[in-house]
Symmetry: C2
Subunit: 334 residues, 2 copies
């Protein structure tokens, strides 16, 4: 217990080893990790959370590297920023994607004390990954990083959920992605604050720009992110072009990110997004808590018998669920 | 109420109009739909559930069409089968993917009373889509179809969840898919019972076959689907090649599907998969039920005050969740 409090102190004082060790505890869902999370939470709320998602093969990792390098430089409007990058790789452990990604990154970013990189791979359910990512981001926020970038691979709901952690969401595409992929992406476009077409030197740029703009226009009426601030100026997601491998278009992109942060703060949308994020984290924890309380109380005999009746088609799943949760109430009221 | 019972009777007697109307009620989560689900559930358990997933652009829809046409023919081992196809399209409503897919399908399959096609698009959360799909499958099972194919677009966790509904899961790829896409797929490969490389006339076939076989071999030790039946013969997922547009390789594929069904029945894995599916459906319903009971009881003042303390970083998300669920218990025990 004193050890975990030492780690917490270390994290708050910018010690990287303490940070790395605590993140491992938190990722593995260790009970000491939870103690630390409770302690650290009061120190959060400073960082600009940036979600990065988009099609596989769009060059997200290289672009995130370039953004990081650029943000480490002071601009006209702000000092140099410190950054943490969380690479969430919801692929199987055996692909080794996360490890490879790290190696590529190390080349450009290693040795800079203002940058911290963490790769996360699934260990089991993706729902668990979303929660683990939220916890890792919380620790990094408390550790004082100005910017935390969360990069996800892929196009599924889990990626959208993870991106939803963010104040600013970047969606990265590349020219010439098939129509099919773009269709999948439509859901992700709705959450984009900034759209980036990376590999802008590849053929097919024009038609991809056109397709994305068309989708953005279609998607626009359904944007609900900042519905609460309807009276404030609307953010129109810009469509930017970059070539990460040649560091082209990076200043414009980082400027757009800075603009978006300013827009969020000026309109009050920053706070609204924070609230939405915290509320959704709270509801997910409540669900887990209720289920585990229920599990501790439900008599095994009743559960197994109900499952048997369900399997033999005597009662429906909903009837089974109602019976099992009703009995829960009965037990509690005794 | 009598109307819904009429629909139920209609569905059980093979009336297509009743089936279509009831499915709409179920999809929209209408209360009458739930009454019908409870009634119909006792009539389920007959159908062979087949999940079809894989990379966008692999030609899943055409292949599903070809499988359906072939299954309508009797084979040496079995009579002609009746089929329902559920196309789950987790893209935004405005892409119109589902509608287009239907039109393509209608050309080949329309007018055959032994085939029923239903498209589902997201209307809100994908979690909701998984449940709606489970309910639609349940109705189609009760309606007496021999085979129900559930086709999903994409590679995310939601698709894996939907595929998990199935007795038999087909994963469809095409030659020349990028490494990135294959990495994403690694998670999906783990759930594949049969791997199909469609568009086998495209360049890059050899390397795709090699990559998939390598992944399968890596993935094999971690397969847990039938862990309960460790003593029974193992199913080694075959890697098949098809060209759906020219109807090539379809007999071999349908034979493999028939073989897998036989394997599941002979080893008892059929029942194990049924149980896993029903149990996971039950647990999800229990979670929903507990949360809605909790929501009905929690005093709004306490909830809002806790949320405010959470936002101002006075208490952590887990502390907030514990407080709100503890008070729930207090309320119940009063």
């Amino acid at each position: 217990m004193t050890e975990i409090l030492d780690l917490v102190t270390g994290v708050l004082n910018g010690k990287r080893l303490a940070l790395a060790r605590l993140l491992t505890l938190v990722e593995n869902n260790a009970p000491e990790g939870q103690v630390a999370l409770d302690q650290l939470y009061t120190h959060t709320g400073h960082a600009h959370l940036i979600g990065v998602t988009g099609s596989p093969g769009a060059g997200k990792s290289s672009l995130v590297n370039q953004i990081a390098l650029k943000m480490r430089q002071p601009s006209a409007d702000r000092p140099a920023l410190t950054l943490a990058v969380v690479a969430v790789d919801p692929t199987s452990p055996f692909t080794g994607g996360a490890v490879l990604g790290d190696r590529v990154r190390m080349r450009d970013l290693a040795g800079d004390p203002g940058i911290f990189i963490r790769s996360m791979a699934t260990r089991g359910a993706l729902g668990g990954l979303a929660r683990a990512t939220a916890n890792v981001v919380q620790v990094l926020d408390a550790a004082g990083f100005d910017v935390i970038m969360v990069e996800t691979v892929g196009a599924g709901q889990s990626e959208v959920d993870i991106a939803r952690l963010a104040h600013t969401t970047l969606v990265i595409e590349a020219p010439g992605m098939g129509d099919d992929i773009q269709a999948i992406k439509a859901g992700i476009l709705e959450i984009a604050d900034i759209l980036v077409i990376n590999k802008a030197d590849y053929p097919g740029l024009e038609s991809t720009v056109r397709a994305l703009r068309a989708m953005l226009e279609l998607g626009h009426p359904t944007r609900h992110h900042d519905a609460q601030s309807a009276s404030t100026p609307l953010w129109i997601p810009p469509v930017l072009q970059t070539v990460a491998t040649r560091a082209e278009g990076i200043s414009e992109l980082v400027n757009a990110i800075d603009d978006h942060a300013r827009h969020l703060r000026e309109t009050g949308a920053w706070q609204i997004r924070d609230r939405i994020r915290l509320q959704s984290e709270l509801e997910s924890l409540i669900q887990t808590e209720l289920t585990s309380q229920w599990r501790a109380k439900i008599p095994a005999g009743l559960y197994n018998q109900t499952l048997a009746e369900l399997e033999s088609r005597q009662i429906s799943p909903l009837q089974a669920a109602k019976r099992l949760t009703q009995s829960h109430l009965v037990v509690l009221e005794e």
